[in-house]
């Protein structure tokens, strides 16, 4: 019984939402939007559990002086500061997202630069991954190296200065063999996702249940 009820709820809800996709008549036509709103509400409440887990783990690290406890202290302080400024901005400006609020100051001057910093690491990581991957060890890896070189040269102004053909060949590679391979992978992935969804709806696969 304990396992049957969630499976039944999943089956009925899933079939109802799939059928609603095809029926514009009220209330079916609105079900997709309504379910997204319900999902947002449930996620909001679940966030409380997430915050509880976050605080417990990091406070335990600080109290037990585990390795890296300084980072946990920084996290707790940052969490507290953002929470307080959020409330303060809400009370003073009506919304924490109001322009000129201290909450938006934190977002603009801390969060965005930190996100930019992490994103910029990708430039270095792409270089190191490419250095390891583009080696002429086998026939296939040599082909990868040559193709990647042509596409890279075709995408930068320097490559076009070297030879105008790089851009044309690069465009052809991206529009034909690359696109064909990507679409083949996508067909398989979407069929796989559809089959997994069907198994979950029918209760055959139950990753959400213990």
């Amino acid at each position: 019984m304990k396992r049957d009820i969630p499976i039944l709820v999943t089956l009925i809800t899933g079939i109802f939402l799939v059928v609603s996709f095809f029926i514009p008549h009220k209330p079916f036509g609105e079900m997709e939007q309504l379910s997204l709103i319900w999902f947002s509400i449930v996620s909001g409440f679940a966030m409380v559990l997430g915050i509880d887990s976050l605080l417990k783990v990091n406070i335990k690290k600080i109290t037990q002086r585990k390795s890296g406890w300084g980072y946990s202290l920084l996290l707790i302080l940052g969490f507290a500061a953002t929470l307080v400024t959020g409330f303060e901005s809400g009370f003073r400006h009506g919304s924490p997202f109001a322009l000129g609020s201290s909450f938006m100051y934190i977002y603009t001057h801390f969060i965005i630069p930190l996100q930019g910093t992490m994103f910029s690491l990708l430039a270095f990581f792409i270089a190191s991954a490419a250095y390891r991957a583009f080696r002429a060890r086998t026939m296939v890896s040599t082909l990868l190296l040559i193709t990647a070189t042509i596409v890279m040269l075709g995408r930068v102004p320097g490559g076009e200065n070297l030879w105008s053909g790089f851009a044309t060949i690069s465009e052809w590679i991206m529009n034909y063999p690359q696109l064909a391979a990507k679409r083949g992978i996508l067909i398989g992935a979407y069929l796989g996702a559809a089959a997994t969804s069907l198994r979950i709806l029918l209760g055959i696969e139950r990753p959400y249940l213990n």
């Binding site: 008549h25 980072y71 994103f119 990581f125 390891r132 996702a193 089959a195 997994t196 213990n210």
Partner: protein, 388 residues
């Protein structure tokens, strides 16, 4: 003609003193909707088309108070009102000025809209879905009768045992990163299916299993999955809730948090399975730098090249979804894979037919261009149904 100004040219070009014939307003229900749309159409003459714009008014009674609901260009010949109440009757009035400045008023009604019980634009989608579901369910039933099915080798999944064993030998934890997807993403659910099996193996080998999560719902589900796996392996006391924790919902904050955990805890094996975007290479390269064996899997084609370059094994697209079938080898799961493969064969056959028809059409003649055009229109209808 001397160009004096745009307005002057407009007046000079139009016949002077021409009469503005009445516009016949026709109101029809917009099909395949929830009954909130009426389409007003009119057929302007070439003279009328230059009259500019109408203001559209709507009222419930023919001579009642009318509210302004929008504007329409005369030359467009139509206006869609998408804010009506189903089954209610409305009268419309279009008010504008002719090129010499005389007021024009055209009215029509009553018109009403009706909600439809089926969106026929989505019929090709419904048919495709029924065919697909039918294939999957048919093969599930067939395998339940005892017929065994072959499944090809997937190196990444075979390496799961090797990865956990390696981490055990090194005395290091095993990490599984479920990605930045929500619990409603199928890739995240596939990752949770694999997590159960990995957690059971990890519990048997007595190795810490760390799962950093980006969404609270994923965290709560993962905690239950791991706890159950430890209980099934006979090691419930080994389960620690702080090992399956929430980090942050922010994409790069999550990447930074996971990287920090990798650099401090130095896992022996890292599983990057789920929905990933730009943070994928940051995590994969960090894992590579600490010498961990990495198995990655995602359905995002934009991230697959990064995983292939940085990880030891990569599950490409559908291999991630086939993981639960591959690892469990249960007939029901294998049957669904077989049904999925049959649909793939159908789709590839249709693509091949389309390619052949398009090639023959390009060679000339009359028959093949018509066939190719009809074939394109058939699958164009499926595409339109998807977007509807």
């Amino acid at each position: 003609m001397i160009r004096i100004g745009g307005l002057a040219i407009l007046i000079l070009c139009l016949p002077m003193g021409g009469s503005f014939a009445a516009l016949n307003l026709i109101g029809t229900d917009i099909p395949n909707d929830d009954g909130t749309g009426i389409l007003i159409t009119w057929d302007p003459t070439s003279e009328q088309a230059d009259a500019g714009a109408f203001i559209v008014y709507r009222s419930e009674l023919p001579s009642g108070n009318a509210e302004e609901i929008g504007m329409a260009l005369v030359r467009d010949g139509h206006y869609a009102d998408k804010s009506v109440v189903p089954e209610k009757q409305y009268n419309y009035r279009l008010v504008g000025k002719d090129p010499v400045g005389n007021e024009l008023v055209f009215s029509g009604g009553p018109f009403s809209a009706k909600a439809q019980w089926f969106n026929y634009e989505k019929l090709p989608v419904a048919v495709s879905m029924l065919i697909f579901s039918g294939c999957v369910i048919f093969f599930i039933h067939r395998t339940m009768s005892g017929k065994s099915l072959f499944i090809r080798k997937i190196a990444g999944l075979d390496a799961l045992d090797e990865a956990v064993g390696r981490a055990t030998e090194m005395g290091r934890p095993v990490f599984q990163v479920p990605g930045i997807g929500t619990i409603s993403d199928v890739a995240t659910l596939a990752s949770l299916s694999i997590m159960r099996r990995v957690a059971r193996k990890v519990a048997e080998y007595n190795v810490p299993f760390i799962v950093p999560c980006t969404e609270a719902l994923v965290m709560t589900t993962a905690q239950e999955v791991v706890k159950t796996a430890y209980t099934e392996a006979g090691r419930p006391e080994m389960y620690k809730p702080e090992n399956v924790s929430y980090l942050t919902y922010d994409q790069f904050g999550y990447a930074a948090g996971v990287d920090g955990m990798m650099l401090r805890d130095k896992p022996g094996a890292i599983l990057l399975l789920g929905y990933f975007m730009a943070e994928s290479l940051i995590m994969a390269e960090t894992g590579n730098s600490i010498g961990a064996i990495q198995i990655a899997g995602t359905d995002q084609t934009s991230q697959l090249p990064f995983f292939v370059a940085a990880c030891d094994y990569t599950l490409i697209g559908e291999e991630l979804y086939a993981a639960s079938s591959y690892l469990s080898r249960e007939p029901v799961f294998l049957g669904s894979l077989k049904g999925q493969d049959l649909c793939k064969v159908i789709i590839l056959s249709l693509i091949a037919v389309g390619v052949i028809l398009a090639t023959l059409a390009a060679l000339g003649g009359e028959t093949f261009p018509h066939l190719s055009e009809w074939y394109n229109q058939l699958f164009g209808a499926i595409g339109a149904g998807n977007e509807a």
